[in-house]
């Protein structure tokens, strides 16, 4: 028995030493997660290897399909920095206790649209007619968040609706087939398809007036931020420079389109709606006390889980790397 105990102890001690040696490795490579079909100016810096040169280490870019997958990869230690993770997966990850930090704002964009089927005669003025109708929503995404904000703003009771969980392409298809009365969509291609047969429930202006918008964040693991603060800083610096250098010239757009895996016109259209806030704007509007980042994160947490503690999420916002 004593022998077994001793062996078990040694085995677990060995496992711990192994785990520690893994965790103590200095960064000789930085792993960054990003989205395809999500065009951003920093892709020029990505293609030109400006990041690698500026940070002095190799930068390894991996594309992801969803922000949730980014969180999972960060938790398993395979990804250090997520560029343009949605606010929704970030907040849900924080609520589950994931050791992540928001260090910057990647993209500010118009809130995802909810398309009402053309011919149903429903718009923002008589939105309460949506009660009792069927709606396609990709649950727990930024589109879900936008949907709930719209309905709250238009005073529509969502509990009376039949909410169907559908990925954006499926939602657009269901809207086309007339199976749902409204579909909430994100992504360029799906939005275009839904726009063919539907109309956004709120116009751009109405959304701005109601203060409904979304943004993607730059998140890092706490471990990486502690061990390599200068790398995080340089990453944000290069991103900032790429944003400043962005003039939307044809050459630039072609470069980004190629890297994002999109066609030039689609890229142009997508990027026209994007805003890339400067470090100064981020510090003054998003990361200040009670700024947009904290308030949006806590209201989003409230929408999804109902027991959001705003002050808790605020602790994971860290604008110090932008300075």
């Amino acid at each position: 028995m004593r022998l077994i105990m001793k062996r078990a102890l040694m085995a677990s001690a060995g496992a711990m030493v192994f785990a520690m040696s893994v965790s103590a490795q200095a960064a000789d490579k930085v792993n960054v997660a990003f989205f395809l079909e999500w065009a951003t100016p920093n892709q020029i810096a990505k293609v030109d290897k400006t990041y690698d040169k500026a940070m002095g280490v190799g930068v390894n870019w991996t594309d992801f399909k969803t922000g949730v997958a980014m969180t999972e990869a960060m938790l398993s230690g395979d990804i250090d920095i997520s560029y343009s993770q949605g606010l929704a997966p970030f907040v849900t990850a924080i609520q589950q206790g994931a050791p992540l930090k928001m260090v910057g704002i990647a993209v500010v964009y118009e809130a995802n649209d909810c398309f009402v089927k053309n011919g149903s005669g429903i718009d923002a003025s008589n939105a309460s007619e949506l009660e009792g109708k069927t709606v396609a929503v990709p649950l727990n995404t930024m589109a879900d968040y936008a949907f709930r904000r719209y309905m709250a703003h238009l005073k529509v009771d969502t509990s009376t609706m039949k909410i169907v969980d559908q990925a954006p392409p499926d939602g657009a298809q269901s809207l086309t087939d007339g199976l749902v009365d409204m579909a909430c969509i994100f992504g360029g291609a799906s939005s275009k398809a839904a726009g063919e047969v539907g109309t956004p429930i709120m116009t751009k202006q109405q959304k701005m007036d109601a203060g409904i918008g979304s943004f993607d964040v730059i998140s890092v693991t706490e471990k990486f931020a502690t061990e390599n603060p200068e790398l995080v800083k340089t990453f944000l610096e290069v991103t900032e420079e790429a944003n400043v250098a962005w003039k939307a010239t044809d050459a630039q757009i072609a470069k980004v389109a190629k890297d994002a895996g999109m066609k030039v016109p689609t890229t142009k259209k997508q990027m026209a709606d994007f805003i890339f806030p400067s470090a100064k704007e981020q510090l003054e509007q998003y990361f200040n006390k009670g700024g947009i980042a904290a308030s949006a994160a806590s209201s989003l947490g409230l929408v999804f889980s109902g027991d959001s503690d705003g002050s808790k999420i605020a602790k994971t916002l860290d604008g110090s790397f932008l300075k």
Partner: protein, 642 residues
């Protein structure tokens, strides 16, 4: 009652674990005894050898449960309910000290300064090598070389211990002193500490969304919490120390002036586009390296030896103060232990994604609670309950609305006085739409029922259509040859390959999901019935034929009973595969169902809920399989004995 059970789940786990260990030992003892009894009169390979043996099943279950309890930290929580809270306090200290450790060999093999020197020198080498000779005039090139060598001298000066300012030395000494004081405090023990009332009022470990209570609830925890708070100040002090040798101050001013001069020349606008871009990029690259060096974060290596030693001392003191906790952690908490993040303490290792059995049971009861307003169910639908189903809904389902359109006449219009008097055509439409009261019948409701319903309907259709077709294919040339290409072409297609089509053909209601499952069940049933029918011994068919049996009698009394074992095995396999496809089927336009719950739970990383759905599916699959085994035993007792 449920609340009380939930709050005391650790205690129950302790009892259950003991019972499991007892069950494990007892079943093995019993099993060995039985094995001795029967060892002599059994032949290897005899099917009878596998009969019975329930005690081995018991020991198997006990092993599985104990492994689950162990790796989910269920055993650890059962017997050391405060351990995680103490580990959290230790993790707090780790979190606070980690910025210091990250700069020292004790945390990352090299001094941070060493890494910075290596990285910046490399970058300077690259920059010097990549000097665009075409963009700068030769005097400028010489100036740039001087500039980079000046930047390089910043590294040289910072690395020399002689240049370390007295102020920095003093601050480093102060940090060493404070760290040593903290070590002393840790070694002093935790007598006299007592947790605050607020800490004791926290919810217990695992009973809320936040897994581990963060305020210290033990004397040892108080000690670590206090030390962590003080260590935070030391870490802040450490982060603020800068090494600015006097020689560097003049170099920094000089480099700044030179860079500004270059920038000014660049901004003059007298260069063509390409040259301008090259010049700007080059100056920026040099400036970037310079900006990283001018903030004085590089220290002479031996100046930090003291801090490195003090941190090693602090680690030793930490291990000393942990005492028995260290051993308990190593044995009962497999993985990396507890990590403190900005907001909370979380379990790491297998406990992160493997919830404890008792927590899974608690989540199951929450899910199974039919009281939706009281927080039960999921997304407003119970797990399994019943409801009053209006008969009119069934009528609506079975009667198409266009029946009313066929009736001659017009639908009523509202009269001039604002009243409406419906005619027969209106009533017919109301009937077809189910807009009337015809009484209600009790019906099952909930996520579980919806999933089971989909599988059962698909299986029913699969058996009802697949078995006759398969039998006919086994006996008829026409059926075999006509349907063979069709069936063989579609059978190998994985069910999920149909998924993209299902939505646009069937829409978002249940029929699409049922169809997907039906495709799975149908192929298996056809193949198994066909194999069964064509496998009938010819002698049996000839015998019945010569005894005067009609075709129908041969089919019904000879071929079908002969094919039955194959058919029932087919049903057993088909049910299993249907369950396997269910999660995927419910991704399509999910509104209810077990697979739907799992899909949504994934998007919020709710591992407890994910495991509940996995276990429910496993249990139901097992239940179906047991039912099928019973049916097989009852209907074809001759199987395997021919």
């Amino acid at each position: 009652m449920v609340e009380w059970l939930s709050d005391n789940r650790a205690g129950f786990a302790a009892v259950i674990v003991l019972l499991l260990v007892a069950m494990f030992i007892w079943s093995i003892v019993l099993g060995r005894k039985q094995a001795v009894l029967t060892a002599k009169d059994e032949v290897f390979g005899d099917p009878q050898r596998t009969r019975g043996g329930w005690y081995w099943a018991l020991s198997g279950v006990a092993t599985l449960m104990l492994i689950w309890f162990y790796f989910s930290w269920g055993i650890g929580r059962a017997y050391f309910p405060t351990a995680a809270n103490e580990m959290c306090q230790v993790a707090k200290l780790e979190e606070v000290v980690s910025p210091i450790k990250a700069a020292l060999p004790i945390g990352s093999r090299y001094y941070k300064s060493t890494l910075l020197v290596a990285r910046n020198s490399d970058q300077l080498d690259t920059v010097e090598a990549e000097l665009p000779t075409g963009a700068f005039t030769s005097p400028e090139q010489a100036k740039l070389k001087a500039l980079t060598s000046n930047v390089r001298s910043l590294i040289v000066n910072s690395s020399n211990p002689k240049n370390l300012s007295r102020e920095a030395t003093k601050k480093l000494d102060q940090i060493v002193f404070q760290l040593n004081a903290l070590s002393m405090e840790l070694r002093g023990g935790f007598e006299g500490f007592s947790p605050t009332a607020k800490a004791l009022a926290q919810p217990k470990w695992g009973t809320t969304h936040v897994e581990i209570p963060i305020l210290p609830i033990t004397a040892r925890g108080m000690l670590f919490d206090g030390v962590a708070t003080k260590a935070r100040e030391v870490a802040t002090l450490f982060r603020k120390i800068r090494n600015h040798p006097p020689a560097n101050v003049t170099i920094i001013a000089d480099v700044k002036a030179r860079i500004a001069k270059f920038k000014k020349v660049n901004a003059s606008g007298k260069f063509d586009k390409k040259t301008d871009a090259d010049r700007v990029a080059y100056v920026k690259a040099v400036e970037r390296i310079f900006r990283r060096l001018d903030d004085g974060t590089i220290f002479p290596a031996n100046s930090l030896d003291g801090v490195n030693g003090a941190i090693a001392g602090l680690d030793a003191a930490r291990d000393h103060a942990r005492g028995s906790l260290g051993t308990i952690e190593a044995i009962f908490f497999p993985g990396i232990g507890v990590v403190k993040s900005r907001t909370q303490c979380t379990e790491q290792g297998s406990a992160r994604w493997l919830p404890k059995p008792m927590d899974v049971i608690a989540t199951f009861f929450k899910l199974a609670n039919p009281d939706i307003e009281g927080g039960g169910g999921y997304k407003g639908v119970p797990l399994l309950w019943w409801k009053w189903l209006p008969v009119a809904d069934l009528v609506d389902f079975f009667t198409p609305d266009w029946i009313a359109d066929l009736w001659p006449g017009e639908y009523t219009r509202h009269g001039t006085d604002g009243t409406i008097s419906p005619n027969f055509k209106d009533r017919l439409l109301n009937f077809a739409r189910g807009d009337l009261y015809l009484g209600s019948i009790p019906a099952l409701d909930g996520h579980l029922w919806d999933s089971v319903f989909r599988v059962l309907v698909a299986m029913g259709l699969g058996i009802f259509l697949g078995v006759p077709l398969g039998l006919f294919m086994g006996v008829s040339r026409f059926f075999k040859s006509f349907f063979d290409p069709l069936i063989e072409l579609y059978r190998p297609v994985p069910p999920l390959a149909w998924a993209p089509l299902i939505l646009t053909i069937f829409g978002i209601t249940d029929d699409g999901k049922v169809f997907l499952l039906f495709m799975v069940a149908f192929a298996i049933m056809v193949i198994s019935a066909r194999t069964g029918a064509s496998g009938t011994q010819l002698s049996k068919i000839r015998a019945s034929h010569s005894l005067g049996a009609s075709d129908r009698q041969i089919m019904w009394n000879v071929i079908l009973p002969n094919a039955l074992p194959e058919i029932l095995t087919g049903v057993r396999i088909a049910i299993g595969v249907c369950w396997g496809t269910l999660v995927a089927a419910e991704i399509l336009a999910g509104t209810t169902g077990i697979g739907f719950i799992e899909n949504i739970a994934r998007t919020v990383s709710d591992y407890e809920l994910i495991w509940v759905t996995i276990l429910i599916m496993g249990m139901l699959g097992l239940l179906f399989d047991l039912i099928m085994r019973w049916v097989i035993d009852k209907t074809i007792p001759w199987r395997g004995k021919g």
